[in-house]
Amino acid sequence: MNRFQQFLAVILSMSLINATILVPVAHAGMVTTQEVATVVATGQAESGQARLAAALARDEVRTEMERQGVDPAMAIERIAALTDEEAARLADQIDTAPAGGIIGAILLVFFVLLLTDILGLTKVFPFTRSVR
């Protein structure tokens, strides 16, 4: 990263912190339910560092979603619907997590899958009927 990029990153993260952290805390001082859950589960309060990490994760997911063909305005809404934990998980796994939607298999494994379909271990092809 060159200087300018570093500067830009800082500015962007600051604006994100403003948008995603300060706004929901409309009533300063109230402990949110999420914070209560964190304290009950871990015995520790949420750190500012964790919030910063969450904000950065959101930005990362937004960029990645746009790269994956999601309309930018839609991407913002989709990020807003995620919890911090979900955003962090998605930032790590958006490329590798299972994406339900693929019907059909590549030709290379066609026969293996045909066989396993018949054995009832898989169910790739609508026309197979398992032997048992």
Binding site: R67, L82, A97, A105, P126
Partner: protein, 323 residues
Amino acid sequence: MRSTADLPARGRRWFSTAIALLAALLLSGCATQSARLQDARPEGLPVRSELVDTPFFPDDSHFCGPAALATSLSAVGLATTPEALIGQVFLPGREGSLQVEMLAGARRQGAVATRIPGTLEALMRETAAGNPVVVLQNLGLSWAPSWHYAVVVGYDLDTGEMLLRSGPVKRETISLRTFEHTWNRSERWAFVALPPGRLPVTASESEAARALVQFERNAPAAKAAEAYRGGLARWPANAVLAMGLGNSLHASGDLAGAEAVFRHTAKTHGLAAAYNNQALVLLELGRHAEARRAAERGLKVAGPLRQTLLETLGTIEKAAATD
């Protein structure tokens, strides 16, 4: 140049490799649950059950995520269509939908989306209770995955079948054993989406609490309060749910209601967060002396929230001084 003697050896090697591969495939992961279920049927579980009125949105492309979500939401009175959900849960670059976004998408439609235990019995109990279940299957193999979302709408223990709304098939009957194989590969991922106030019958306390806290994040405050009340009806001793109810009531403008919930929670759980929030609500109500007492009590048990309680006490003192 290849010598002729090589060929049979190669052929044999290929054959043994194929056998080994096949054996590995057959031995990897057994369908133990389905076998057990049919040997000894769980108590109180009907022999068969089917939610015949569950809507069906056929899909034969990559949109099984939006289709499964629309199916499950429409079935519980949150009418929607796959088309309306594509922009919310489909990821074009991956030609599919991610699990995290399926849950977030359900919440965006006003549903509480709760993960349920990864057992066939849980799926059956949910459908018997009237709740369709969204499941992630890998219809292929771990190394040649075909990830697919479907909706479990019933089962039949006599015939040993699971009934699904799945892709282009309105009523797919799949043997329990095959279903278990395909479901095992997603680590038996399943969730139930329900309107606020209702929760899946098999949900654990911790998963339900997690789902409700996630729901509160983007839900209208009154809906969140309704959802928390549903959770507290089943787990009245859960402090996180009680705090959620208090916070939602506060956000919806019901200060008196919020104060009562925080007061009760502070008393029964000795929870610093409850004292803190009670103090701030009392301050909003103009009851400064009581607010200070609550904050001081909270400070005694503050633990990791010490800084928060000190700030609250400061706010109260400042407000009292300007009066």
